[in-house]
Symmetry: C2
Subunit: 399 residues, 2 copies
């Protein structure tokens, strides 16, 4: 039997996936499991997208242009314009989700063995993309005490080596919900310019900002136009994760021409998804007003409940739909498994994501979990009650 | 400005893409361009697939399982059973087209620097996947004199080195249309077993066999169950290339578990495409009967016309919808560009794929072109007339 690849062996298995069999078992036993572990929102997909499928009038569902259907990219440009970002259709390559777009970006810009600096905790799948491309992630710590703000410039400079080729940020952040300020982006601009690095930014949660704060895009940082590569998702924005439509965007011509070769090798992004995505971008702004009001209520429910629990530290994130609190527990992997395997409160329990999966530094994240507030307030309240009770009963509690 | 990656520089640009601006210019001038350069069939997508979109009744278009929607994989198993191939749903990972599936397979099984033997000419994008994975393609020659039959076992053995990890075949073949016999598959079985290599097979054109010949799958080769990885496409089979639904299939548990980690890193294959694909697999066999009759008429039109042209060698392929003839020309890249730029016959011309893109050996394929017979007979006849006239007028003709 031939051996599998070293890359395959190194590919990180998601710590959430390990928990799935325990969740399935609990559900089989009739236990209600509140899923706070996933980024799959419960918000309905906009009617316009469903209607685009109901009205599909093609005789042949053809390949699209490898960079995506032109009219879809044009719609994207209109969308970005509304958000103060000026881009042209040929500065956009549509990918099968932001996932594929990120892979194109990493493959285009970094050689195997190159390093990419990412403040941790960070979105676990960045590890997967790095392993796929043979690139090494150099984590630098962000701290729960600052609500997971951007690490100071000295931390970046300490981490920079001759192999450093890029910095990656997610803004608003998954898993922390942290929204970077204009000043923090200025720090990134300076360092990227000084060391001539790529700046990769995942701005998938751009719309999801709370408390009157607004999102600032890396695309508007002056003087580093050739360094910036933006990753985005239409699927996630419009609660249509399954359509798998994301994008890689850059003003760097050489980067885009090279990325297009990777895109051409796989022929075409999904056409049906693109048709739905194009329709989505006509969704009125009021759609987001409602959703953001809903997420705000959810965030407040979660943060208020968690902050009232003994030994819990919970920042108030200004964006996305995640929060990463610190809990009085010995080991988040063990705690999350115990919740599913043993803990029951009124025949209910919760599934959480252990934060260990969001750190590249071994041993980090053992006291933290990521909570996705993708359930309605009523269910979230029940879920928070479960967490509260569980923290009193958990054998590995530290207070 | 930071440098792009070595991989990015090495990524092959498709020779067809270079021709696109010339085709666009001709069309702008009012010239009819017959597109024989692409694998985009003109056959209508089955009604069942379009209907599945018209009847879409989901409120939220969610992520699917990373390996694909279970019911879709179950349908695939039924489909394979009808074709004499027994597989289980957990032996299938659905990819965004066969393209993604191939990338998962290569990443799972081969290390950067490993070698993969492929008889040439071969599907040009294999070069792209190999470059992406940092793997080296070792081509071995198949010859137009044998209709591009499998090279003899000695050619494989000559090419095998300590770095050889896999053999890849496409059956029926793109670009040659060659259909491997049971005996040829037996040769592959022996060599794969003897050297414990992976056998990758792209069987995307399984249904498209002519003249009473039938397709034999590598999945039924005994004693090498752990070596075989099958790549397939639902999109291509049902003339719905844009849905991007393919699959990686293997009975090797370790390979599938490892590939699943790559699949998990990108979360989910396209959900809309999977819903359409599941519906497609209820398409009655009569759909293929009609289409195969149509393709057979097209193949006969093309082969008969080409065989009657002076200096042209044209095998009669038994499968797929491609033929790769040898023409009396100096350089297929130059000839294909000249067709678009300068040649006109009754204000018409043809776009062909220079075969140079299907060879890894430099200098090979200069006398050959790939013709995709994806147009109806009437248009094909006009296109063949163009080729005939062009071969008399082409300044670089060799007879």
């Amino acid at each position: 039997m031939p051996k599998i690849s070293d890359k395959g062996r190194k590919m990180p298995a998601s710590p959430i996936r390990k928990l799935v069999p325990y969740a399935d078992k609990a559900k089989k036993e009739g236990v209600t499991v509140f899923h706070l572990n996933i980024g799959q929102p419960d918000i309905p997909t906009p009617d316009s997208m469903i209607r685009a499928m109901h009205e599909l009038d093609q005789k042949v569902i053809e390949y699209s242009h490898s960079a995506g259907i032109l009219s879809c990219r044009q719609k994207m440009c209109e969308y970005y314009k509304k958000h103060g970002i000026n881009v042209e259709p040929d500065e956009i390559i549509i990918g099968a989700g932001a996932s594929e777009a990120i892979l194109f970006g990493v493959m285009t810009c970094l050689n195997p063995g190159d390093e990419i600096i990412i403040p941790e905790p960070f979105y676990a799948n960045y590890n997967g993309f790095a392993t796929t491309a043979g690139v090494n992630v150099k984590p630098i710590p962000s701290s729960i005490e600052t609500g997971f703000a951007l690490p100071p410039i000295e931390e970046f400079e300490k981490a920079i080596s001759p192999k450093t080729k890029a910095i990656m940020v997610c803004n608003p952040n998954n898993p922390t919900g942290y929204l970077y300020s204009k000043e923090e982006l200025e720090v990134l601009r300076k360092i990227v310019k000084k060391y001539d690095l790529y700046l990769f930014a995942d701005e998938v949660y751009r719309e999801f900002c709370y408390d009157g704060y607004t999102h600032h895009s890396v695309m508007n940082l002056e003087g580093i136009e050739n360094n910036v590569v933006l990753f985005d998702s239409v699927s996630k924005r419009y609660s249509a994760c399954g359509i798998r439509i994301g994008a890689m965007i850059s003003r760097n011509r050489e980067v885009m021409q090279t990325a297009l070769k990777f895109a051409q090798a796989r022929l075409s992004p999904p056409s049906l998804g693109q048709i739905a995505a194009e329709a989505a971008m006509d969704t009125p702004e009021s759609y987001f007003d409602e959703i953001i009001a809903e997420y705000l209520a959810r965030r407040n429910t979660v943060v208020k409940a968690l902050s009232g629990m003994e030994g819990v530290i919970c920042p108030t994130p200004k964006g996305a739909f995640y929060v990463t609190p610190s809990l009085p527990i010995d080991d988040s992997d063990r705690y999350c498994q115990w919740l599913l395997e043993e803990f029951r409160h009124e025949n209910q329990t919760v599934m959480l994501a252990p934060a260990t999966g969001f750190y590249a530094t071994p041993g980090e994240g053992k006291k933290e979990v990521r909570i996705s507030y993708v359930l309605n307030v009523e269910r979230l309240e029940k879920a928070m009650k479960c967490i509260e009770v569980s923290l009193r009963e958990y054998p590995g509690r530290t207070i």
